[in-house]
Amino acid sequence: MKILNIILSAFRALQRNKMRSFLTMLGIIIGVGAVIAMLAIGQGAEYSVKEQIAALGTNVLMVYPGAQQQAGVRSGAGSATTLTEDDALAISRECPAVQYISPGAFAGGQVIAGNLNWSTSIQGVGSDYLEIRQWLIEYGDFFTDQDIKAAAKVCILGRTVADNLFPDASPVDQTIRIRSVPFKVAGVLTKKGQNAMGQDQDDVILAPYTTVIRRLSHFPNLRFILVSATSLKDIAAAQTQISELLRMRHKIQQYDADDFTIRNQTDLAATATATTQVLTILLASIASVSLLVGGIGIMNIMLVSVTERTREIGIRMSIGARARDILTQFLIEALVLSLLGGITGIILGVVGSQVISSIAKWPTIITAFSIILSFGFSIAIGIFFGFYPARKAAMLNPIDALRYE
């Protein structure tokens, strides 16, 4: 029997029980749709994390206090107290591969301007911070080395903070209170919008790190040092120079571990990607469970179908169908079910991902890989779960099948 004829007659057999075929396919549709959507969400997360890291600038190095932990997990920034302002100055003085450097400190808190308030994070940075991040000032000025030396109470607002605290007026030269300390607004950053993760990059206040340390956080050491190498190919050199310098300054013995961590973009990307990949795999495995359930549904219906159609099988055998003809017939029926379900599921998954994207503002990415994977999965499920019922049909004795009531 020619394969095209078998496929045609499989379609017709399935058409005779439209509702039943549809419900059986629904299992596969939901399964494949879920796998596609979950992969899209996971890969979307992976992509946006990479984006975010790339947005830091490509020749940027981050130096954190505290030793490198296993699997790249850093202990909380507050747990180590080893990075000082002097370390930062020494790096800028003694490392030739380093171009810009900005010491870093954090503080969070309520910001008040007039009768409006806003809660955001305050980053203490150096005067070269904008060069490293390649950010721009929209209006006003950035703070100067003089401001840093004097721990001046000046700050720069991100667009979101500016809009919320000064909806009508220009914030420049106005005074805001951060944790009741008055700061003069020197400038406003250009709008950067959301990053790929949906985080608002404009919801930030920059202030001299000296001011943040002395007036806000009262934590004497640096939370990080942001460094840019003179060029992309100098990143490795910069990393070695910083490492050697800090080990010397911190008096670390030859075989002892660093008490600081230097991360370049590749490290950050690797860690973040690994995390999101775990997320992707997790989501996809949960979704594949429903695919498995769909497969069992196909097997169930095919078994029912074989029993219902035992006489048909007997008739076909009595006029010359071989075991393998019957086997292919039922296998193809199972395959048609799972493939139709698979294709519908792929469409559903793609559409569903777009909907998730637009409603939840979560980036989703559909790759050829995930479509091929789901497609292959549906074929495999059709064959795997269709084989047993098909074989059961093919192994029937002609006369027993004919006599079946």
Binding site: M1, N5, R316, M317, I319, G320, R322, D325, L402
Partner: protein, 262 residues
């Protein structure tokens, strides 16, 4: 294909069917049911045999073995010189497809499948191309007088018409032999004679026919009578003056010109 399906002429005496000491025992739990207890018979090409006998005498069992649907417990069965007992499942399927046409009492058509497609079915399991298949199936349906009903479904046809579709299906692959187990069992007498007319015509064209019937009237159309009793052949005689269906039908009272209700 391991066995050669071409007739091996050695040991053949021109017989289409050679059966020796055939027995069939069904096992029903502890009890053995002896359906056939040593049947030996030869059937030559072109014969028209009617098998009769009381209910339970083993006629259907015998026919199923002839049709390669079932296997005997003991004994040998040569079809065109081929020892059927030595064939594999696939080879038996091929024999059923090419050499044998089976007509059942209960028609055994695929429901929700048109007459044409039912008749095409045997050709699906052979090398026939789609185009030729359609032509052949239409021809077979025309041969049994159903040329105007080819797109009807079984539930849109009368019993007689359904049986004619089944006959068309049995002859579509040009078999050497047509086996019919009580083909008129579900039909009224006029329709029965019509069906017998078709068999006679096929037989006149050289197809060997073996049919089982309970009705002596029907057996009268065959050229040879074999009577079964308790799993054995009790009588085997030639019917020297078979009735001609096309003549009998003229004498039958016409109840309704178009009586074709199922």
């Amino acid at each position: 294909m391991i066995h050669d399906l071409a007739p091996s002429l050695a040991g053949t005496n021109g017989s289409l069917i050679q059966i020796e000491h055939l027995t069939k025992v069904y096992q029903l739990g502890e009890v053995d049911v002896h359906a056939l207890r040593g049947v030996s018979v030869n059937v030559s090409k072109g014969e028209f045999v009617a098998i009769m006998g009381a209910s339970g005498s083993g006629k259907s069992t015998f026919m199923n073995i002839l049709g390669c649907l079932d296997k005997p417990t003991k004994g040998s069965y040569l079809l065109e010189g081929i020892d059927v007992g030595k064939l594999s499942r696939d080879e038996l399927a091929m024999i059923r497809n090419k050499k044998i046409g089976f007509v059942f009492q209960g028609f055994n058509l695929l429901s929700r499948t048109s007459a044409l497609e039912n008749v095409e079915l045997p050709l699906f399991y052979g090398p026939t191309s789609n185009k030729i298949r359609k032509v052949k199936a239409t021809e077979a349906l025309e041969r049994v007088g159903l040329g105007d009903r080819i797109h009807h479904y079984p539930n849109q046809l009368s019993g007689g018409q359904q049986q004619r579709v089944a006959i068309a299906r049995s002859l579509v692959n040009d078999p050497s032999i047509i086996l019919a187990d009580e083909p008129t069992g579900n039909l009224d007498s006029r329709t029965s004679v019509e069906v017998m007319g078709i068999f006679q015509e096929l037989n006149n064209n050289g197809i060997t026919i073996i049919l089982v019937t309970h009705e002596p009237d029907i057996a009268e159309f065959a050229k040879r009578h074999i009577v079964f009793r308790d799993g054995k052949i009790r009588a085997d005689k030639v019917n020297s003056k078979p009735k001609i269906a096309s003549e009998v039908i003229k004498d039958l009272p016409l109840i309704d010109d178009e009586e074709e209700a199922a």
